[in-house]
């Protein structure tokens, strides 16, 4: 697959050079054509800044941004074949829905008939064929979101940027729009770069994810790579639920604080952190790990056991309620846990 956007050693500083705030610190990324790529991170991690650099609203302090191989960091926004769906939608309040969608096409000086046809096609694409004559502020939040999408897609950009585009919607609408976005991406074949702080959203929608924190890219990978093999504690903690256990890595295995030993291959030696996902641990009388039940929480689909393992509290084990609610173990009870070797991720920190 060819590269759609190449980010090469981008730095972004606000304020005085040398002593300003570093929003982006030597960021490099390669985003492939026709990919649904997500920039994921907590607020202030630099993901929105990176998006604004690609759109052209900001100039990088250093580095190169390539679009299909060609450097474009010096082009103004209106010359970039890139369109943005803004977090606030930014629909023009003094224009009708159809005029909003037509705006980009008019700027390119297309003939009226072609513009009108494209507007109709875009309205059909976002499944709102009858709202063209209405004013933007007469639409619901979900509808405005779709119109913002239609307006950006009408220009047939090579890359579509979406800035926290679903965060203003309620839960139900959000789920629908996630599927809708995936559908649109498949139908249009446009590269989508999506910015979000919602890890679940990122896992659901993306082909690949870049996890960012404090202006740096921590890890790039498919959702399963990011989830199953986080490179460090920050990524593991940010994506999904994770139990962390302090351990000492030696040839004999991973020794926990109270002397229990777990087995997992690792080149590391000395103090390490074990990251273990709650759903990968099984309650099993023949298990190698022991813990004391602190609390049992029933959450509908699952029952979550909070255990004290090796002197550390809050170790969670998630068990699906295949057989409905089962009131089994009580606080204070000792349980044995089976932790498959593949479920243990050994981290250096």
């Amino acid at each position: 697959m060819s590269s759609a956007i190449g980010i090469e050693r981008i730095c972004m500083e606000f304020g005085e050079p040398g002593q300003g705030v570093r929003a982006l610190d030597d960021v490099s990324l390669d985003i492939r054509a026709n990919e649904f790529f997500t920039l994921l991170g907590p607020s202030g991690c630099g993901k929105t800044t990176l998006l604004r650099l690609i759109a052209g609203f900001e100039q990088p302090s250093a580095g190169t941004i390539r679009l299909y191989g060609e450097a474009m960091q010096d082009l103004p926004p209106f010359r970039r074949p890139v369109n943005t769906v803004f977090q606030s939608y930014a629909l023009f309040p003094h224009m009708s829905v159809a005029q909003n969608i037509a705006f980009g096409l008019e700027m390119r000086g297309l003939p009226r008939a072609e513009i009108d046809a494209t507007v109709q096609r875009m309205l059909a694409l976002v499944k709102l064929p009858d709202v063209g004559r209405r004013r933007a502020d007469q639409l619901s939040g979900g509808q405005q979101q779709r119109i913002a999408l239609a307006r950006a897609l009408a220009n047939q950009p090579k890359v579509l940027l979406l800035d926290e585009s679903l965060s203003a919607l309620d839960q139900k609408l959000r789920k629908d729009m996630q599927m809708e976005l995936k559908r649109l991406q498949h139908e249009t074949g446009i590269t989508f770069i999506f910015v979000t702080h919602d890890q679940e959203e990122a896992l659901t929608m993306s082909d690949r994810i870049a996890v960012m924190d404090k202006g740096r890219v921590l890890q790039v990978g498919t959702p399963s790579e990011i989830y199953e093999s986080p490179v460090n504690r920050t990524v593991a903690a940010f994506i999904g639920e994770t139990n962390f256990l302090a351990a000492d890595a030696a040839d004999a295995g991973l020794r926990l604080g109270d002397g229990q030993v777990l087995q997992a291959p690792t080149p590391l030696r000395g103090a390490v952190t074990l990251a273990i996902r709650p759903e990968r641990v099984h309650l099993d009388p023949a298990g190698e790990l022991e813990g004391v039940v602190e609390d049992v929480v029933y959450v509908g689909t699952d029952t979550v056991y909070h255990l004290n393992v090796a002197g550390q509290g809050g170790f969670r084990v998630r068990r699906q309620n295949h057989d409905g609610a089962v009131a089994a173990h009580a606080p204070g009870e000792r349980l044995r846990l089976r932790v498959p070797t593949a479920a243990i991720r050994v981290l250096a920190e």
Partner: protein
Amino acid sequence: MNAAGLRHERRLLLRRLALSAPAMATLAVFLLVPLGIMLLVSFLQPGDYGGVKWGEYSLEAYVNFLYERDLDDSLVFNTDYLQIFQRSFWLSVLTTAGCLLVGFPTALYLALQSERRRNLLLLLVTVPFWTNLLVRVYAWILLLRNGGLVDSGLEALGLVHGGDLNVLYTDVAVVIGLLYTFLPFMVLPIYTSLEKLDWRLVEAAYDLGATRRQALRRIIVPLAMPGIAAGTILVFIPSLGNYIIPELLGGGKALMIGNLIQLQFGTAHNWPLGAALSFALLAFVLLAMLVYSLRFKGAAAGGHP
């Protein structure tokens, strides 16, 4: 609705009336009563040495506005007063256009500054109000007169050679004076609407391929329209009826409606004609506003060509 609900409604209505009563009373005393007196005066006979003859009703003032009484007492259509109305109209249009041309970029510049700078610059816009208008207009006389600062300045720069500038006591001087006086009334309302503007919309326009000029024309100006409309009205109407600027900078030669009205109450000793002219001005302003609001409404709803 039940009885208790109705009582509640009525209480709310009474409270609203009570709250608006002072404003209503002020309007009645200081607007409606004087207007009523003026209306009455316009239908009376002029007194011999100013004032009016109470109780002697006549349409003479309104007839005099459009006709002249010939020697044989027959009425001849006379456009003298209408010409002054027309001149006043065009001078005010020029003033308004000039204020818009200077005021819009100023307001845009103000709105784009940081908050601290903005407040300082806004203060500077209002600084002229701290000095008496008369003083400022006399300053313009000193600037514009032959041999004044502008004249000698231009000569020193070699832009004019010999001769006098001859700007003072012309329509040009009047328009300069009006423009100077009313510029803040154009800047402030436009600034207010630009300050509220969501600049992400401008970013969205750039993103969709609009150049700076296109974003200005298609996004910024339409969204600043309420401010532009308010500024236009705030400049145009006071310019139309202005008295002091044409009096001082027009030197009594370049008459505007305000001067004409003053003349009737002063040296001409014809109060009814002055009152009638005032009402003609009022009617003219209302008509202009009506036309303007219709045009403006059409432009706002039209959106794009």
